[in-house]
């Protein structure tokens, strides 16, 4: 197992930009995810680690080894491609054995290791099948087995679940995570699905337009997004804009509309955020942290009418129009009656649930 360092790596394609100044250190044994919308440079970064592109600037190291311009076949990484890239003219066994044959292992050892990995990914008895005789999920597992059997220093996965149907996706997600934990292998995972990233990763790198936006644990990027993009890309949120009217005693007052002022805590702020009186500020409030309020008058209350009411069983989702503000809320179903479109509602934004983005 090996750590991976990307030291200020930039990749340009002619004049078109791929990725800009990626600087990360992935720890040995870590499950690290590149997350971002399509075209943001995830694959480009992954392919530089695999050796299919060489960086325009910067260095790449596996542990202490500088591999920046090492050809892909000498890196000992195992890659699972988005479309699996299985060899169509070989059987399942031959596909998995390919990397071992390249390494000139003896016939008996190849057989033993292939069979071991087949058991691990639940493909026992499929050795003689041709690739086109397998289902999508099975092909995916062959691709995984083929990458794992060479005991790579690093496992690279490029949107491995995107070609599977919803149910299989869930199943395979657990499977990949189980294998990773069992083998303790350094894993770099590429996806555009934030739920997938949150569920599987030790740390996530959020990217957009070739730029790294934030690196952190799932909880960090969820609760402390550094900018609007990260806040809105990860999960759902209410982004509220207003003007700072008061900063005092660790509290920040923000006027959202002529008759609504909310108070947040100065410590709940992204590192770049420096609120100043009289300046604009964006707040993020997660829908599940908004509360319905039926008590007496207090701070941070919003009154409005319900535009959309959605009953999902465990929760009730409302979109409420309060003056110029639209607010999403997700309330746990406590057995109270569900409000309908047009009904009045009072919502509370708890102080500690307001996050100042900047």
């Amino acid at each position: 197992m090996s750590s991976v360092t990307l030291d200020h790596v930039t990749k340009r394609f002619g004049t078109a930009k791929g990725v800009e100044d990626v600087h990360i250190q992935i720890r040995s044994g870590e499950f690290f995810t590149f997350l971002g919308p399509s075209g943001c440079g995830k694959t480009t970064t992954l392919r530089m680690i695999a050796g299919f592109y060489f960086p325009t600037e910067g260095r790449i190291r596996f542990g202490e080894n500088d591999v920046t311009t090492l050809p892909p076949n000498m890196r000992n990484t195992g890659m699972v491609f988005q479309n699996y890239a299985l060899f169509p003219h070989m059987t399942v066994f031959e596909n998995i054995a390919f990397g071992l044959q390249v390494r000139k292992l003896s016939k008996s050892e190849i057989k033993e290791r292939v069979e071991r990995i087949q058991r691990l990914v639940h493909l026992e008895g499929y050795g003689e099948r041709r690739i086109d005789q397998l289902s999508g999920g099975q092909q995916q597992r062959v691709a995984l087995a083929r990458a794992l059997v060479i005991e790579p220093q690093i496992l690279l996965l490029d949107e491995p679940l995107s070609n599977l149907d919803a149910k299989l996706r869930e199943e395979t997600r657990f499977e990949i995570k189980r294998l990773q934990v069992e083998l303790g292998i350094t894993t770099i995972y590429v996806t555009h699905d934030q739920a997938e990233a949150m569920a599987m990763s030790d740390r996530v790198m959020v990217m957009q337009g070739g730029q790294v936006q934030q690196i952190g644990t799932p909880s960090e990027i969820y609760h402390q997004p550094v900018n609007r993009f990260v806040a809105s890309f990860i999960g759902e949120t209410n982004l509220l804009e207003g003007t700072v009217t008061r900063i005092e005693g660790g509290e920040v007052d923000v006027r959202l509309s002529p008759d609504v002022v909310v108070t947040g805590l100065a410590k709940n702020a992204s590192p770049a955020c420096q609120p100043r009186v009289g300046e604009k500020l964006t707040l993020s409030v997660r829908p599940e942290l908004v509360k319905e309020w039926e008590g007496e008058e207090t701070e941070n209350l919003l009154r409005g009418r319900i535009l959309l009411s959605e009953f999902t069983g465990a929760c009730v989702n409302y979109i409420t129009q309060a003056g110029p503000i639209q607010l999403r809320s997700m309330l746990i179903n406590l057995g109270r009656s569900v409000k309908q479109r047009g009904d009045e509602i009072t919502l509370l934004l708890p102080k500690e649930s307001i996050y100042l983005i900047g």
Binding site: S2, A50, G51, F52, F54, F62, G63, N65, T69, L70, P71, P72, N73, M74, R75, N76, T77, G78, M79, F81, Q82, N83, A85, L86, F87, P88, H89, F98, G99, V102, R103, R146, A147, I150, Q153
Partner: protein, 577 residues
């Protein structure tokens, strides 16, 4: 454990790797392709040009003045004849090909299936064989005119193929397939709902034709016209057999046999210019054409012919069509069994034997040209495979600049008439030089394989790049990722996956080499006489039986190979022809 090994890899190895990963290293790798094209395509073309411009070591336009001279107009007449034969060929091929495509794709009538298979028969006839069977059938002493004369007790044969008319009929028969194939593909792709939409908007049948169907077919028609024009310009065998001396290709042949090499070079250069212009025109047009059918997977419904009269007429017509298409092959088979030199004034050959077929494989003198052709073609095909696979890989997979140039250079020898290719090689390799490794190639064994190689260069290239383009690039990357060196992954992954395409192209190249006549006749040596030249020689010795037995053998090989390559690569291989 692998990582440990890498850690200790010595510094020079690292430096070598760094050198190989530099972006310009790729150009070092692909340079052999360019060198081969330079040596065997560009340099011979250049030498010919030089020969046309040089008189006694001085530059002069005298040869061109001679060509365009208004006093001795043989050359200008030849240019004019070539041009108008080509234009007329385009027109007749277009009419026959498109009509057949429409009838066979749009109507259901008795005999349609068999006709649509037979419509491709002319593709199985090598040029020389096609012309010969036509003269046997419809020539002045041909079977049909004589039979009619006997039947109706005429003084003279009622008609016969000769002169320009003969050339045109042969061109139409052998080249209409280019129109037929593109037109049927285009008609198959026509979405019937377009016509229905036009009809529902109030368009009459005629308006639908004029405004919808014909415009949609135009790109296919223009492409085929350019192709047929080029092939007709390059046609050599038909004018040779029908004795039309005043065509460009014949003039080149005559200048060469009369030893007027300067003039041959001049004529070649002018014909090359015309061919290259057409190649560029074709490429440009294919890039610019933009009618794409948006809907997919709709098959055209055929109109069934229901009226009694229509049924009879169509039955008779398809019967005639079948006969016309089959006759050339049938007559070859018939004559291949006739005793040599016995068929003089009779309608049909009077005496029959199977001796020619036995001779093919037992008489060493008869077997010799077959062995020669197999050997020469095999050598050329190996070269075509190596070059074609490498060039296709470079074209599809490597991120280099100048791909258009490479593509044009590879297609160039295909666009040049065989006669011109031969003259170019004569100009370049009559004296030793670097590209011939200090040897005089003319008169040696190697000149014919070289000519075949140059002429059929694009076949494997085309079929292989088509296959590679359909192959997902990440499969090769997966192999590299698993530790395979470039060569290992090429051997175990890329090549096996492209194998069908390679083989299809190679088989096609092989039969084209076996049937090659036009360049061979100018450069063959007595010890390496290829099959097609032997057929020609036998004809002139009135050994019709042996000549036709050779021809039948060629046709059998070609049909087998066409069938195999169709199986291997679907329709992909045909894009090369």
């Amino acid at each position: 454990m692998k990582a440990e090994l890498h850690k200790q890899s010595p510094a020079p190895a690292r430096r070598r790797l760094a050198l190989m990963s530099s972006p310009s290293f790729i150009y070092v790798l692909v340079s052999p392709l360019y060198v081969i094209l330079l040596a065997y395509v560009i340099y011979p073309l250049y030498e010919t040009f030089l020969a046309s411009m040089k008189i006694e070591e001085k530059f002069s336009f005298a040869n061109y003045a001679r060509f365009f001279s208004l006093e001795h107009t043989a050359n200008l007449e030849a240019l004019w004849t070539s041009l108008y034969i080509s234009v007329l060929s385009v027109i007749t091929c277009g009419i026959v090909g498109v009509t057949m495509a429409f009838l066979l794709e749009r109507y259901e009538f008795p005999g349609r299936r068999i006709l649509s298979v037979l419509a491709l028969v002319p593709m199985a006839l090598p040029p020389l064989i096609g012309v010969l069977s036509f003269t046997f059938l419809y020539g002045e002493s041909g079977i049909i005119p004589r039979a009619l004369k006997e039947l109706f007790q005429l003084e003279q044969v009622p008609f016969s193929l000769k002169g320009v008319g003969g050339v045109l009929v042969v061109h139409t028969f052998t080249m209409y397939t280019y129109f037929y194939m593109t037109a049927s593909a285009a008609i198959k792709g026509l979405d019937p709902s377009l016509e229905e939409a036009a009809a529902s908007l109030g368009a009459s049948r005629f308006t639908i034709w004029r405004r919808v169907i014909l415009p949609m077919l135009t790109p296919a028609m223009v492409a085929s016209s350019l192709l047929v024009f080029m092939i007709a310009m390059a046609s050599y065998t038909a004018p040779l057999i029908f004795g039309i001396d005043r065509t460009m290709t014949m003039q080149i042949y005559l200048s060469r046999t009369n030893g007027d090499l300067d003039m041959a070079a001049t004529q070649s250069t002018i014909l090359s210019v015309v061919s290259i212009l057409f190649l560029l025109l074709m490429r440009w047009y294919q890039g610019a054409r933009n009618y794409q059918n948006l809907s997919k997977g709709i098959s055209v419904h055929r109109t069934e012919i229901t009226s009694k009269l229509g049924k009879y007429v169509s039955m008779v017509l398809s019967f005639i069509g079948t006969i016309v298409l089959m006759l050339p092959i049938l007559v070859l088979v018939l004559i291949s069994f006739s005793v040599n030199s016995t068929w003089t004034i009779q309608v049909l050959p009077p005496e029959y034997t199977v001796q020619h077929y036995i001779d093919l494989f037992t008489d060493s003198k008869t077997w010799r040209p077959i062995a020669n052709s197999l050997q020469l073609s095999a050598i050329a095909t190996i070269g075509i495979i190596i070059f074609g696979v490498a060039a296709a890989y470079v074209m599809v997979r490597l991120p280099i600049r100048g791909k258009t140039l490479l593509d044009v250079l590879i297609m160039l020898p295909w666009a040049l008439p065989g006669t011109v290719v031969a003259i170019n090689l004569i100009a370049a390799f009559s004296q030793p030089n670097v590209f011939s490794f200090g040897q005089v190639l003319i008169g040696s064994f190697w000149i014919i394989p070289l000519a075949y190689f140059v002429r059929h260069l694009p076949l494997v290239f085309r079929s292989t790049s088509a296959t590679l383009m359909q192959m997902d690039g990440s499969v090769e990357e997966a192999a590299r990722n698993l530790g395979a060196s470039w060569w290992y992954s090429f051997r175990r992954v890329v090549f096996p996956m492209a194998f069908g395409g390679v083989l299809a192209g190679a088989l096609l190249a092989f039969v084209q080499c076996i049937g090659e006549f036009v360049a061979s006749i100018l450069i063959f040596t007595p010890s390496t006489t290829p099959l097609s030249v032997a057929i020609f020689q036998r004809m002139y010795n009135f050994e019709f039986g042996t000549a036709c037995a050779y021809g039948v053998l060629q046709i059998i090989v070609i049909i087998i190979v066409l069938f195999l390559s169709q199986k291997l690569a679907g329709d992909k291989a045909n894009t090369a022809v």
